[in-house]
């Protein structure tokens, strides 16, 4: 139960949620100023999901992510400065300026990649789990995807394959209600992912994705199961993205009341409340924590702005090995 968690540990998880929020807000600010090229998809409002899941992962466990991947990648331990360097398209960025926001990868901490193709990461996570199983490893793979991915062929084929071979994958659907403008309920007759899980013959759970503790508990069960060779689990985390599909999207397809009702359920507020109740974080502590995180992200963004521009000819490097 939620009461079981160590407040000092939860404080660190809270720090991570604050870091994601600050990163996304800063990136949005820079993007709106015209400093960042390309597209930017914000995960503000969804912070409890990546943090609650990766809390149970070790450094050498793996994740796959999506076009809305900053949160997953930060939660897995990526360096925000190198992420900003990539958002700026610089030489020292994670992808040497070739990938940008939608493609950040850090294999050294098990981030197999954000992905510009909806559903594209699902079979990749399955394959990663396959190679872990072949090697007799107890590592696991967390596969993050949106509600939109649930309707793709790649999702169905991938989950089924993981199910039949008992692969160590945690399929985490971040159901933020919309795929671009399309409400999930209009494109999926299954009430929730537990219905689909049944169809594949694996366990499934629906959790409140704005409640860090609910995510933590469900993810712990799923990770333990995968580690002991029990096979995959489908988790549906119900949450909401505060911004439009991309920064700049006026999001005319949803109402202000709807946005306000979800903002009232800010995942950060719940954790802060939990910590305050236990005397682990008073107002002053909270302010200090926020200031620390803000300073860290400001420094990371400044480092991004100072990055080296890539040499044009480097565009031809890494097409093939060697």
């Amino acid at each position: 139960m939620a009461g079981d968690f160590d407040p000092a540990w939860v404080t660190e998880l809270y720090r991570c949620m604050l870091r994601i929020r600050a990163f996304e807000e800063k990136a949005a600010e820079l993007y709106q100023k015209g400093e960042l090229p390309g597209f930017l998809h914000s995960s503000v409002g969804q912070e409890a999901v990546p943090v609650g899941v990766t809390a149970w992962l070790e450094r050498d466990d793996l994740i796959t992510s999506t076009h809305r991947g900053h949160g997953h990648i930060l939660a897995k331990g990526a360096d925000p400065a190198r992420m900003f360097l990539e958002l700026y398209g610089s030489e020292e960025g994670y992808n040497r300026g070739k990938g940008g926001s939608m493609h950040i990868m850090d294999f050294s901490i098990g981030v197999l990649g954000a992905n510009g193709i909806v559903g594209g990461g699902v079979p990749i996570a399955v394959g990663a789990a396959l190679s872990l199983q072949n090697r007799g490893s107890d590592r696991v793979v967390a596969c993050f995807f949106g509600d939109g991915a649930v309707t793709t062929g790649a999702f169905h084929e991938g989950v089924n394959m993981a199910a039949i071979w008992d692969l160590p994958v945690l399929f985490v659907c971040e159901n933020n209600q919309y795929a671009e403008s399309t409400p999930h309920r209009t494109v999926d007759r299954a009430r929730d992912l537990t219905v689909r899980a049944q169809g594949y013959g694996i366990p499934g759970e629906v959790v409140d994705g704005n409640d860090l503790f609910a995510v933590l508990e469900a993810a712990r069960r799923a990770v333990e199961r995968a580690r002991r060779g029990g096979g995959p689990t489908l988790l549906e985390c119900r949450t909401y993205r505060w911004y439009g599909h991309y920064i700049g999207d006026p999001a005319v397809y949803r109402s202000e009341e709807e946005v306000a009702s979800w903002k009232a359920r800010d995942p950060l507020g719940r954790v802060a409340g939990w910590l305050a109740e236990r005397g682990a974080l008073d107002e002053e502590g909270e302010a200090r924590l926020r200031a620390e995180v803000q300073a860290e992200i400001e420094a990371a963004a400044a480092a991004g702005a100072r990055g080296r521009r890539p040499a044009p000819e480097s565009a031809l490097e890494d097409v093939y090995a060697g």
Binding site: G97, G100, I117, T151, G153, S181, V187, P310, A315
Partner: protein, 334 residues
Amino acid sequence: MREALREALAEEMERDPSVFLLGEDIEDPMGGSYKVTLGLSTRFGRLRVRNAPISEAAIVGAGVGAAVTGSRPVVEVMYMDFLEIAMDQLVSQAAKIRYMSGGQVAVPLTVRCQGGPGRAAGPQHSQLLEAWFAHVPGLKVVVPSTPRDGKALLKAAIRDPDPVLFFEPNILYNSRGPVPDPEADEVAPLGKADVKRPGRDVTVVTYGAMVAMALEAAERLAREDGVAAEVIDLRTVSPWDRETVLASFRKTRALVVAHQAVRQGGMGAEIAATVYEEALDEVDVEIARVGARFAPTPFAPELERYVVPGAEEIVAAARETLERAGRLGAAVGR
């Protein structure tokens, strides 16, 4: 361009009740990720403008099924890159059904996509794949370069009895230009190129977003070198208009084929080789290809610019062909 395409869709839906639209996020209020279908679901209803889940293989496949049973579906796939997911339905189903049924049935399917480089969209959202599809007998591939052509070609694509891939260059959506009235019902023939600028010294064959760059290059060549470049807009990449290209080449005896797609294995190779085969009897055959360097489209703007060619490269290639032919300089064409 965006409005011209929307008009083509609306006019065809008005004219033919069997025309319907299917795709992701195409209904109002979104009206498509790039707003081409804005207003159409409100006007024609949600049976004829149908929002689909993210299911490219099923969307295109459903288009094939609808097409062989008396409908004229116009499917929107958000980015050309995502056609990869629907490849079987396009290549092994749509393109083959008429042929392998012994001509029993037509597949009047139109697949609209947008795409191309120029917006730092990165390696998975910037590809130009027209050459892949030009390699497949049974598919037609159309790429418009102006609002007028966009409207007239999209109408032709919808009326065409075969599967047509209609590739909209993203960077042209905001481009402006004259568009014929609904009453004019202008339909451009598929498979017919358009000479966008006549000239007698060098032929520049191109299509899509590169047409504007070729015209800019022609302007510079005229000003700086006194060279009169003829700019041919293929408009239909497959089947492409050999007659117009060969006739122009016979006049100018120098050819530059230019596209933003990767040069290796691209349309430039096909056109250059065809011209070479057909024009072996000409005195001096001078051909140059312009295309993207052999790399995915990178994210950082300066990398993207380095990989993808523009007007500059067309000018250089035209000069090179004429130089090799000994025709660059004071004596040019005069």
